[in-house]
Symmetry: C4
Subunit: 200 residues, 4 copies
């Protein structure tokens, strides 16, 4: 089965998720036209920025990963939809966190939980893809022991746990994971390049 | 006429439908930052999950079906738009059902009715496609007597009827149909594979 | 310049327009769970259906027309964007008409005006495309004197004028134009087929 | 790395941005059905039109630029996402400006600031692309000293500064920049054509 439509559909869903978050930012109404009206919204903006970066990271890595994929099957379709489900929840939890200014426990915990679920869903997608492509595929070689993925999951759990101590510390953990992933997954590019060299 | 743009447009509409449903979930406002504020929303979340799965199923089966289609005509375009129309109503009825916690008759009945209309619209699309492709096409062979489709329609009707007895029972019927379809349509894949083998 | 990205972008915009209209339909809130709550919304639903059909017609004809187009230029990009602009206004005027139940003059007039502007924008796009493709192109031959387009514009103007007499009559005119266009533009298909026959 | 999915994702995001702005225009409710209810909304419509044109300009130039691009890398992906981020903020600031009728300082200043940031983000994308493609690439030759980009940035800064004198003058500056860019970037087309001639 070709991967073209799965990529197109995922691109569509990711493009919509990353864009509709802006609709969750309520525009200050008529008469609220001072700089202070914007300043008050800083948690909403911060929440938007971090969520935009997260969805951007997932798009980048999804893009890179499927570049190395040669074909798909029904299980891959559903593993991919499962990832898209958790990504689609980001605008909701992002808005809740923004509305409550980072200093209340549950919005921060819920946001971290959704990031964690996304991370797990991505790992499941990788496992399903490697099972389909075979253990000797470039994809399998590229992921190796997936250290980056494991560290991320650990950091999310730490971040969630910290919320009962200090919610800003939790947020710092989420930012840290984003920074780790901001660099697109060079592993796949490198392995694929090596593979191609080997073949020629 | 090529099927490329029809697939792209359908993917776009389905991607948007599956994603904008999250906008129907009202974020608990400022000050509503407790876990209990989320817990109260469980019918809204349940409604979102089942609708996400349904749209996902339609995308998967649409994807599989058009994989077996070789060309389209004007009737196919309109049959496809008719299906997209009923799919586009899902976010509305899903939100209405979620707002009313599954224990009132009409939101449950309306949700079931829209699922039923989607099912019928999909059947119409299949019939129009088979008429265009010919009775000896792989598509026609793959669908056969379309037992799964017929059972689904029966279950929807039963589900709708049950709403006056117990709305949760109705919901159980809708979940049951989703489970039947969660497995992508292997029939087409199998028949296409057999066809290709036969040709070579 | 290739037409691929223009088609993809237009498909995207049209897919979004046709889908976000559902967001303009306000879900009856908690406690409003009777069939009568839905029945009250019939103007909103009717408005949604006619607008869905209109955007569907534009997509179908856009699809057919660009099928016959071989290349584009900067003027085509802007003429296309001008059409997309007027299409993007449909959800707004559709919601306004729906909210006011078809019996007040200005919402009906505004809806007709936007349909008229869409019709003119489509005509401009056709003229710009024919200028680019040449008068002897299959596209130019297919459109001929564009009788259907001229009749539509006349009917829109009549419909708008009728609003001061009877708003339901105006609406009937808008439905009539939709019916005329529901049949995809066979002219282009036929001419293209003849062209290809001639070449071989 | 292929540029196909980056183009598709950007097209998706731009299509959504240009379309969801219509959702920020609040439909006059039931009972508000007079022409005067629409007339009152003129700042909202004006804001929508200028923002639609701006997003259209960015799509056109993005389209033209990537036409000349042969391959991409990780830095290009992130520079492109950075541009998409600032474009995604346009619906928010556009709605704020529209709500406040162009005669208050901060909404006008914020709108200009976001346009300025978009302009800078586009310049960064160009620089990253030229670094990747090489100084002797058609892209580098086409952009030259990027006079148009520099003039735009200057005009935005002037427009922002004018807001404390006269907000309508600021708006006039923003319209002026739009007019400068309404003509798609002929430079690239011309250079590419020359390049191709040279090769043959």
């Amino acid at each position: 089965m070709g991967k073209g439509r799965l990529e197109a559909f995922s691109d569509g869903v990711l493009a919509i998720i990353i864009t509709i978050m802006v609709l969750e930012m309520k525009v200050p109404g008529h008469g609220h036209n001072q700089l202070s009206d914007l300043k008050e919204m800083w948690p909403v903006f911060t929440s938007y920025i971090i969520s935009f970066i997260y969805v951007g990271i997932y798009w980048n890595n999804h893009h890179h990963m499927f570049h190395a994929v040669r074909s798909i099957n029904g299980s891959v379709l559903w593993a991919n939809l499962y990832l898209l489900f958790w990504l689609s929840v980001i605008p909701f939890v992002s808005a809740w966190m923004g509305e409550n200014s980072f200093h209340t426990v549950w919005p921060i915990v819920t946001y971290g939980f959704v990031l964690l679920m996304n991370s797990i869903a991505y790992t499941i997608l990788v496992v399903v893809l490697i099972k389909h492509e075979g253990k000797s595929s470039p994809l399998a070689a590229a992921f190796g022991n997936d250290l980056k993925g494991k560290i991320s999951i650990l950091l999310y759990v730490l971040g969630i746990g910290c919320a009962w101590v200090n919610t800003y510390l939790s947020f710092a953990f989420y930012v840290l994971v984003a920074l780790i992933w901001l660099i697109p997954d060079k592993r796949i590019e490198r392995k694929l390049a090596a593979e191609q060299e080997h073949l020629t």
